[in-house]
Amino acid sequence: MAGKKLKTILATDCGSTTTKAILIELTDQGYRLKTRGEAPTTVEAPFEDVTKGVLNAIMEVEELSGLKILDGDQIIHPMKDDNTGVDVYVSTSSAGGGLQMMVAGVVKAMTGESAERAALGAGSIVMDVLASNDGRLPHQKIERIRQLRPDMILLSGGIDGGTVSHVVELAEILAAANPKPRLGQNYKLPVIYAGNKKAQDNISETLGEITDLDLIENIRPVLEVENLGPARDKIHDLFMEHVMAQAPGYKKLMSWTDAPIMPTPGAVGSLIEMVARKENISVVGVDIGGATTDIFSVFQGQFNRTVSANLGMSYSVCNVLAEATLENVLRWVPIDIDEGTLTNRIGNKMIRPTTVPQSLEELIIEQAIAREALRLSFIQHKSFAVSLKGVQSQRTISDAFDQSGSGETLVDMMELDLLVGSGGVLSHAPRREQAMRMMVDAFVPEGITQLAVDSIFMMPQLGVMANIENAEMAEDARKAAVEVFEKDCLIRLGTCIAPIGKPKPGTVILTAEFELPGEGKKIVELKTGEIIVIPAPYQAIKAKLTPGKSMSIGKDKGEALETEIFGGTVGLILDGRGRPFELSTEKSKRIENLNKWSKATNEYPDTELLGGA
């Protein structure tokens, strides 16, 4: 390997409210999480210096680990001896609202969508997508740009050598709006042009003087190819150079780190992408926060990320209610509750976002809302994670009855191997069974799907570690990121086995044979509408799954499947509710079912005590 072996790695994530630090050490069992610390983020008044929060979080790490990391307000790195300093220090950031971008493309569903994908993939929040065909008049677009004040703009449009005038028209609209950056008055707004190569001179002429313009490779050089890499890299560079440099204390923080600071979601996304590539699997990752829900996916080797900006559990909890409707939230609640009281309670959570559920009833309501927030975010993700639109494909006569074409979603639940959940409501659910149930109910996995939760939300720090480019450190840092992700970050909940099809009531829809470690063979029959949990540790388990005649488990209807699956903290969860899954519209039946499933999965202490059933 290149360079010396890394022994200790310190990584921080500066969130909008909390700064979290983790310390990773090389042990006999490889790289492991040694300890973590956290402190309030200090970007806003009265401190206005992000490094203060970083130092406080590191101080907590120092106290817990016994390692001396700080010398005054300096991080000692590289390591001086076994008890002093760390080898590497890296950080991510989403403080101050993260990276906020506006993107523009000529055709909304083509270059506009590619530009949006590049910006989201780099970890930004996309405030708006401007397009020549978005239905707005020029003055409406101008007004919108002036109103939004993004951190930077990504402009794309046209294939290389194609028409110039459309993309130049977009540039003229930008020039007329003359947008000002959100942070700092003394610099020009960064604009990245990633469109038709032939238009570069005209774009420079239009935007060169009034903006800080960068010309890079076309994001869509030909219709069939999407080239997001250069745009994503440029966004990261500009995030460091402009946005971060304007935020209080970041210049100092940037001088401390051994690798560029990454936007938090960008780091999480790159970690998910890395895991999918390494294991050659399809992965969906979700981070449900107080204000937003981020979903990352890798299907057929293609990475996608979406941010549902106003679907969260506290600041935007009422928006979940508005978008999902009260009826949809209530369908997950196995108790009778007055609607007026419930909406007022949810409203009070929005205006007092830091409160926690004290009573069981409050917890059940919160987890019902989480199911809907996850479900809606995933619907948004599925409609965005699509194959390229506008691509012509040759069709044979055998394709004539196949409706698939360009712009189809890449998300295939039957293909999904691993579903990873993160964020307070999932990571901190009092019972792991609750996290598993929320994910199964919201994402409705099909066939065989492993589920896991992030133990303490350290994916951002591991993501930035995996992205260190310095040749001396890169290999070890990447190894450390993968090992810690596997051993300390991911809590394996188990595997969900869900046959697809519309089963008849009372029929056996799956016969499963498992070779359980230490227990031998176990045969289970799953009936329509049942959920069965089989405790099993995170070990390889041989399984033979034979679906009922009208059901499928990944092969043809009724065809058995022999495979290897994994248990986990919860175990194997056999979901006999059918796919597509629908709750009964009859209230008493719905409540009876919810209580039955809750009992079967050991989800809540005893909901019947609340007067539900």
Binding site: E44, Y315, C318, G347, T355, V356, P430, R431
Partner: protein, 375 residues
């Protein structure tokens, strides 16, 4: 001593209130340092660049974009009146000319030889900032605005709608438990800030709007009824830009919740005084809460203000309010702050506080407590 950082809303009987009155972009400051101002005085003024209109003159005249500059009647930077000709083709032997008129009074900003677009800018939009509260100009920030300072009663609400408003304070509820009903709102309340007790219904608030009441301060309001006032479902608590005659400030939250006794008593004590209120709320990083500011007359200033130690957090003896079910809205005194995590009924492991409410000691998560900050 054990303590915990807990957010709190201010209920201060005497406080030095400073308000930044800043322009959205640079302009002129209209007042001088130390000047006395009243709420309606304009303290700063500027002009925002006008809106932009784009016209594709190339398309409109059916000419090549490179020829657009030639057909324009005036140069870049020139002004046009509405309906004035901005471009005209030469036509054929001086006949069959086509032309384009200015759709608005504007200035010609640019001409594109690639797309044929011309950019026209509207007249600048004047923007004025008033003093909002009665007080003195404590600081002048050249070209940007001023800071107004006053000795005042200062009360923060938890949520509000509508922006800045002002008027004479009228406490119409007998007690803090009393609902502010429609029949309590009279024509003489126009332009006044009404104080109720625990609740205002949608019907009563609508009556306040129709009577042109300047503001309403109550304990609670129903969340679902906000939709009818705002015209949309409030998904995220960011308000203040609504165009409402009657600003609404909730001191406690959603639902029927009696107003905190200190808040109600303080407002009652200042019945009849001129008051400024602002319903603007932003619950995100950099939180903004709605507020009630009642500037004090010199004879009312006792000078017994002691700086409130916001960062001290709650300690045994602190007065706190429970801000989540099942004890929502109850006020009690902190008995102790046990350091170890405790399991709640929901099985959530949290840091707790033991609170004495009506002579009974209850265990409540610290995250569900709000400090009642009084002076």
């Amino acid at each position: 001593m054990a303590h915990s950082y807990t957010p709190g809303l201010k209920v201060l009987h005497e406080s030095k209130v400073r308000k930044d009155r800043i322009l959205p972009l640079k302009g002129d400051v209209m007042v001088e340092a130390k000047a006395s101002v009243t709420p309606d005085d304009i303290v700063a003024r500027t002009h925002l660049p006008g809106n932009v209109q784009m016209l594709n003159v190339g398309n409109l005249l059916n000419i090549d974009p490179t020829d657009v500059e030639e057909v324009m009647t005036k140069a870049i930077g020139s002004k046009f009146l509405k309906g004035e000709m901005i471009a005209e083709t030469k036509g054929l032997f001086g006949f069959f000319k086509s032309n384009v008129m200015a759709p608005i009074e504007c200035t010609l900003e640019s001409i594109s030889s690639i797309t044929g677009q011309v950019v026209l800018r509207d007249a600048p939009i004047p923007v004025e900032v008033d003093a909002y509260i009665r007080g003195t100009v404590a600081e002048v920030i050249p070209e940007e605005g001023v800071v107004i300072e006053t000795e005042a009663v200062f009360i923060q609400g938890i949520f509000g709608i509508g922006g800045e408003s002002r008027g004479e304070l009228a406490v119409v509820a007998e007690g803090r438990e009393e609902e502010l009903t429609a029949d309590m709102i009279k024509p003489e309340h126009a332009g006044k800030v009404l104080v109720g007790g625990s609740f205002i219904s949608l019907a009563a608030y609508k009556k306040a709007l129709s009577m042109k009441v300047a503001g309403v301060v109550v304990g609670g309001f129903n969340y679902v009824d906000l939709e009818e006032i705002l015209g949309y479902t409030l998904g995220v608590a960011i308000t203040g830009s609504e165009d409402l005659v009657t600003s609404l400030v909730l001191t406690e939250g959603y639902g029927e919740i009696r107003m905190g006794s200190r808040t109600f008593d303080l407002l009652k004590q200042h019945h009849g005084k001129f008051t400024s209120i602002n319903g603007a709320t932003q619950i995100r990083a950099g939180v903004i809460r709605p507020e009630i500011v009642i500037p004090l007359n010199p004879e009312d200033i006792k000078g017994d203000v002691h700086a409130v130690q916001i960062n001290e957090g709650i300690q045994p003896g602190s007065l706190v309010r429970v801000i989540r079910a099942p004890y929502f809205g109850r006020i009690g005194t902190v008995v102790s702050l046990p350091p170890e995590l405790q399991k709640m009924e929901s099985e959530t492991m949290v840091r707790v506080a033991e609170i004495k409410i009506d002579d009974k000691v209850m265990v409540i998560p610290r995250a569900n407590l709000e400090m009642v900050e009084t002076d």
